[in-house]
């Protein structure tokens, strides 16, 4: 409907610009985190992350070599060298000055007169020519202020520290594996249970079916806050207490209503002919389910698996209640990040890196499987 009559071209531009603004607004916060995680603590503390993307101007205070080393050339003494002798390559000088009162008095290539026959010429790569009318005395080199442009600089040091440094106290590497340990079984186990139930609700006739479907829809919105204490009590009674088994069971239980609902909605839409033909050919319900329904329902299964994986990976509350015990050995990433926020809110390099490590996996899943995610959302709510 791009070019139907009545759509003005001015409006089209307005649309492009508004969408661009929306996208930037929505993307900026995350980009900020990513950029921050690639900077050093000093950089983060002294300038905003958005400045890291562009070459930065900064004023440096440098010194020339000692005047003692000046060489006589005709009737003047000359000292040549480079201000950036000790590294800092790649800098380019915008302006320089010899007095702290005006640090950008001269442009590169100009000559700064300092009185008493002394003058200094500086090129933009830091090479200088310092001339004296009389033989200079010893002592320290001349102070030169340069306004230099530093190129953007990024480091992977934070990631190394958070993930691989054996002495790190943040424990993110362990938390990463713990999170994975929570998420994968909690994603796989409910699928099969839900698929069988969804098949029964979609394709089998029995009294009470409508009531059961209504109950599933109701359970879909029951806040899991209600389940915390009763289930913790239950887990303690049957002896699993806090631990992986408990959190897997809890996630399975909490994920089931959505799983059954999504899968049932999908299975109901499968063509009736296929199933009835199979019945006529003598297939049992079990065979129909395993051979026909399960393979055909793959898109719905994938949608649910993504939902459940994102949910279990990102979860904080269930892990806090059912998994993390006093020893803290089973801590998950979300919990570690909350701890960091509380105790070391100022350490942005660690915080940003940890947070980015924890959101990287869902983001990869999201971009790789977006199609299924959208399909699942549509099946789950548009009715």
């Amino acid at each position: 409907m791009d070019n139907i009559a009545g759509t003005k071209s001015g409006l089209t531009w307005a649309v492009h610009i508004s969408v661009a603004v929306l996208v930037i607004l929505w993307l900026f916060p995350t980009v900020g985190l990513l950029v921050s995680s690639l900077r050093t603590a000093d950089q983060i503390a002294t300038s905003g992350w958005w400045k890291a993307l562009f070459p930065q101007e900064q004023v440096l205070q440098l010194r020339t070599g000692s005047p003692e080393e000046a060489v006589q050339e005709g009737d003047i003494w000359v000292l040549e060298g480079n201000l950036f002798e000790n590294g800092a390559e790649g800098l380019s000088i915008r302006a320089f000055g010899t007095s702290s009162r005006d640090v950008a008095a001269y442009e590169p290539g100009q000559t700064a007169e300092m009185g008493e026959g002394e003058a200094i010429t500086l090129t933009d790569n830091g090479a200088y020519r310092y001339t004296f009318a009389e033989e200079p005395e010893g002592g320290r080199g001349q102070r030169v202020f340069v306004t230099a442009v530093t190129p953007p600089e990024f480091t992977l040091q934070n990631y190394y520290r958070v993930l691989f440094d054996p002495s790190n106290r943040e424990g993110m590497a362990k938390a990463f594996f713990n999170t994975l340990t929570v998420a994968i079984p909690a994603t796989i186990i409910p699928i099969l249970i839900a698929a069988f139930a969804a098949y029964a609700l979609a394709w089998m006739d029995f009294p009470g079916r409508a009531l059961l479907i209504a109950a599933i829809v109701a359970l879909l919105v029951v806040p899991l806050q209600l389940a915390l204490i009763p289930l913790l009590k239950f887990h303690n009674t049957i002896g699993i207490g806090k631990g992986y088994l408990g959190v897997w069971l809890a996630h399975t239980g909490f994920g089931l209503p959505l799983a059954i609902y999504l899968l049932r909605n999908y299975m109901v839409g499968l063509p009736r002919d296929i199933i009835e033909n199979a019945r006529v050919d003598g297939a049992s319900d079990f065979q129909i389910f395993v051979r026909i329904i399960l393979p055909l329902s793959f898109p719905a299964l994938a949608s649910f698996a993504i939902f459940q994986f994102l949910w279990t990976w990102n979860d904080l509350l269930v892990a806090l209640v059912f998994l993390i015990d006093a020893t803290g050995d089973t801590t998950v990433m979300t919990r570690q990040i909350v701890e960091l926020l509380g105790t070391r809110g100022g350490n942005w390099e660690i915080l940003a890196t940890s947070a980015f490590v924890s959101i990287a996996v869902p983001l990869v899943v999201f971009f790789a499987m977006q199609r299924y995610l959208v399909r699942g959302l549509l099946a789950g709510s548009v009715k």
């Binding site: 916060p29 594996f177 088994l245 389910f289 924890s358």
Partner: protein, 334 residues
């Protein structure tokens, strides 16, 4: 045992157990209890078909009953009792609720939850609708959609960190590293510690959830917009309607049902909101919400009675939507 190994074994046991259960129970039903042969073959087939749905449903029903239905009842019971030191419970009827009603922190949480309810679903849906309508009309729309949708994949805790960086505050003399303060200072204002300004800080927390939920609203509303019959739009154009009239008078009324669904779905998320507040302010500076209040009571104050009462309040708020959803689902199935 190493947790990863334990995980693999659990997956194998869980999946294997499920397959084994379904296979064996069906086998038992068909071969042993009601074999479709002999003098009662017909009757046996019917009986087996009556029982089979329940075989398929049994594991799910047990899990749902135990993990969702039973806790509702048990929480209600707990909210009416107090734990007696040394074990056991004492019936206190409404005392927990009365105690809760007497706490200013509870009323603060109720007020904030209502603020969240008013603002977040409305703005998320509005932004989502705007994004859906705009991105449907341009060529790079799907890329734009994907980027606006992206925060859906980010955890509430991750989002909390992301937005803490946006709201970061440094003393007045220092260079601001939070982008919001940098903009405010750039425009000539004074930097603020946004999250500690009572009342208004609620809105800064809400922004995080709006940021996450807009993508959800957009995806669903965009599908609904595409489902609108084109003749209605074309007829409106022929009648001389402008783009805004088409949007508000032709398109929006036709997707009203979907808008309501999106609105209620986000409302439920808002009612349960916990992680964002827990991670960003932990209810300080008057930002308490019900779910975090409940968590405080249950696990910090260790007061199961009042905590359960707070959980029941959340349940009570969810109930109208629950009833409405069930009613709609039943209507559809007829």
């Amino acid at each position: 045992m190493h947790p990863a190994l334990q995980g693999v074994i659990t997956i194998l046991l869980g999946v294997g157990g499920c397959v084994g259960y379904f296979y064996l129970s069906n086998l038992l039903l068909d071969r042993v209890f009601f074999p479709p042969r002999g003098p009662n073959a017909g009757r046996n087939i019917n009986r087996a078909n009556m029982i089979r749905p329940w075989l398929f449903l049994l594991p799910a029903l047990i899990a749902l009953g135990l993990y969702l239905a039973y806790p509702v009842v048990e929480t209600m019971r707990l909210s009416l009792t107090d734990r007696v030191p040394g074990g056991g419970y004492r019936w206190v009827s409404g005392a927990n609720y009365a105690q809760m009603m007497g706490e200013p922190k509870f009323w603060e949480a109720v007020r904030n939850n209502f603020l969240w309810l008013l603002v977040v679903p409305a703005l998320s849906t509005a932004f989502g609708l705007l994004a859906a309508q705009l991105t449907d009309r341009i060529r790079w729309g799907s890329l734009a959609k994907s980027l606006i949708f992206m925060p859906m994949a980010i955890s509430f805790v991750g989002a909390a960190v992301i937005w803490r960086l946006v709201y970061d505050y440094r003393g007045t003399g220092d260079e601001q590293i939070g982008i919001l303060n940098a903009i405010v200072v750039g425009l000539g204002g004074d930097a603020q510690a946004w999250l500690t300004i009572p009342f208004w800080n609620n809105f800064f927390l809400m922004a995080v959830l709006i940021w996450i939920q807009t993508g959800f609203a957009m995806v669903i509303l965009s599908a609904a917009l595409r489902g609108i019959p084109e003749e209605t739009v074309e007829a409106a154009i022929v009648d001389g309607a402008g783009p805004f009239q088409i949007f508000f008078k032709i398109k929006v009324p036709q997707i009203m049902g979907t808008i309501v669904v999106v609105w209620t779905t986000i409302t439920i998320v808002v009612l349960k909101i916990f992680d964002i507040v827990f991670a960003m302010t932990n209810g300080q500076w008057e930002t308490q919400v019900l779910a975090n209040y409940m968590y405080d009571k249950l696990f910090r104050a260790n007061d199961w009675g009042v905590g359960s009462a707070a959980a029941m309040v959340i349940m009570l708020l969810v109930t109208p939507i629950l009833v409405w959803n069930v009613w709609n689902a039943r209507k559809e199935m007829r």
